[in-house]
């Protein structure tokens, strides 16, 4: 089990825009460098990328949730 953490505090998004599909759903393959979400910090959007490969196990926080630096955003199996 690997965890993907937020490098900064802000607001977490599981989709690029309100109309876009969520970046990953449970069971999706995740490659190194895949974007799994966005964190908005002070009006700047930062792409959250996985630095390990695995299978997406799920988001740990909801879309549009406030997150702190170091908080786990999603988990991978494998």
């Amino acid at each position: 089990m690997a965890e993907i953490q937020s490098p900064v505090p802000g607001t977490f998004y599981t989709q690029a825009t309100p109309d876009a599909p969520v970046y990953k759903v449970k069971g999706d393959a995740v490659a190194v460098g895949d974007v799994i979400g966005l964190v908005e910090v002070m009006k700047t959007f930062i792409e959250i990328k996985s630095d390990v490969a695995g299978t997406f196990a799920g988001y740990s926080v909801e879309n549009e949730a406030a997150v702190t630096a170091g908080q786990t955003l999603a988990q991978l199996d494998g």
Partner: protein, 455 residues
């Protein structure tokens, strides 16, 4: 009737600024805040504070219903919108007025009219204010394009009439180039938008951004001279000056008179800013848009004129006439403001919402620091990165830059990454010292590594 209980529907440094202005007039202040802003300085300073919703701006500072309800519950008789958020939202003005309160700013109709670029351009033309020369509507054929360009003057920018953004924009420097580009642009517009109509506009190479501060009471309008705000990154101003030393006196007079004419023609109430592009090569200025609110950079105007723009806008919104006539407003010396943002200039300006450690603030004659910080304050990540504005005033531009450099060295905000190093580097740059800048100057300067060269 004068305003007695003012509700502040904003946050950060401008909320602090509004509270100071209101308290100086003996007005009771009521500060709105989100759940994430309960500890901000404006909440501590205000006579009352009220939570209007969760951290997300869409549910708090942009929530018209919640703000109006909170203001009514606190028996406010007026609402100050600050800048950003709902400051230029006509529906907010209507909701505030429908609830029996005054809005500190112009009418909803004025905001609608001046907020729309096309109607603002028409209002400017009707008031005799120069706008960027362009085609009257669509240009259908290459022959049309050549005839129109001859009237507008080269270089011309060719845009798809139906397009948005930068798609299909070309710049022709001569009739020969235009003859070649127009059919290509038409074909591309047809392909991209299913519409081959073109729009032509004078292309202004390396323009300066110059703006004029105005005040109005609905009947009378005055100007408070101009500001030079060409130093921009990603269309955000980072360094602003009053006045624009590149202008000669005759041009300055025409520019400011044009702003007053437009403000008067729309019966403007409150503080407003008319933004212009200035072409140094031809000494021409062109109106581009109006901001119907107080602006971030208003302090440089206050420094050279001695006016309190925020108090003046509160006064006229309470129904009083302007406290000054045009002849009362004079300018002295030169002022510069730099924006201190919670961003790391060494790391592509990555936002840095840290906790404020020990603060050391510059003091002295002609030095002002508008901010919302205190030691131990945790800066929330949910809003913009502006921490404060360092403003200096001196007899000349050169003396102002020297004073700025000293003040920047005296400013220290432990625990944070800020844009202080950017401003230190700019204040030492030969082009900046020579006022040899324009709106397209800062980004290439950054890309060339001028910042990383400094310690």
């Amino acid at each position: 009737m004068p305003i007695k209980r003012l509700f502040i529907a904003n946050r950060g440094e401008i909320a602090v600024r509004i509270i100071r202005a209101a308290q100086g007039m003996g007005i009771h202040t009521i500060q709105a805040h989100s759940e994430a802003d309960a500890e901000m300085l404006a909440v501590r300073m205000a006579d009352e504070a009220v939570c209007v919703g969760p951290a997300q701006a869409s549910q708090s500072y942009l929530n018209i219903e919640a703000l109006v309800q909170a203001a009514r519950d606190c028996n406010a008789d007026a609402v100050h919108p600050g800048y950003g958020f709902l400051a230029e939202n006509a529906n907010f003005v209507r909701a505030v007025e429908a609830a029996g309160m005054r809005f500190v700013g112009p009418s909803a109709d004025t905001i609608d009219r001046m907020g729309d670029k096309v109607s603002a351009r028409q209002a400017a033309q009707a008031a005799g204010v120069p706008v960027v020369p362009g085609s009257q509507g669509r240009v259908e054929t290459p022959e049309d394009a050549l005839a129109t360009a001859a009237e507008i003057g080269y270089p011309v920018m060719i845009k798809a009439s139906a397009g948005g953004g930068g798609k299909g924009i070309r710049i022709a420097h001569s009739a020969e180039e235009l003859a070649q580009m127009a059919p290509q642009a038409q074909a591309e517009a047809q392909g991209a938008f299913g519409d081959g109509g073109l729009y032509l506009e004078r292309a202004i190479a390396s323009p300066r951004h110059i703006e004029v501060q105005i005040l109005g009471d609905g009947t009378n309008a005055v100007h408070c001279f101009e500001r030079e705000c060409s130093m921009q990154r990603r269309r955000q101003k980072v360094w602003e000056e009053a006045g624009a030393v590149c202008l000669d006196d005759a041009t300055r007079e025409r520019l400011c008179a044009s702003a007053v004419a437009l403000a008067r023609s729309v019966n403007y109430v409150g503080a407003g800013t008319l933004e212009y592009l200035y072409d140094s090569a031809t000494n021409e200025f062109f109106f581009i848009e109006m901001n119907t609110r107080i602006q971030v950079e208003h302090p440089v105007t206050e420094m050279i004129t001695g006016l309190d723009l925020v108090q003046e806008m509160i006064r006229v919104s309470g129904g009083e006439t302007l406290s000054v006539t045009q002849d009362d407003i004079t300018r002295s010396g030169h002022a510069i403001e730099v924006r201190i943002n919670a961003e790391d200039p060494a790391l592509q300006f990555m936002p840095f919402p840290g906790q404020v450690g020990q603060m050391q603030l510059p003091t002295g004659d002609g030095v002002r620091f508008d901010h919302f910080l205190y030691e131990g304050y945790q800066i929330p990540p949910f809003y913009d990165s502006l921490l404060g504005k360092l403003i200096v005033h001196a007899p000349t531009r050169a003396a102002a830059i020297a004073k700025l450099a000293t003040a920047l060295d005296d400013l220290s905000l432990a625990g944070l990454k800020t844009t202080i190093p950017l401003h230190q580097a700019l204040a030492a740059d030969a082009h900046v010292l020579a006022d040899d800048i324009h709106t397209q100057w800062l980004e290439p300067w950054l890309d060339a590594g001028n910042l990383s060269a400094t310690p």
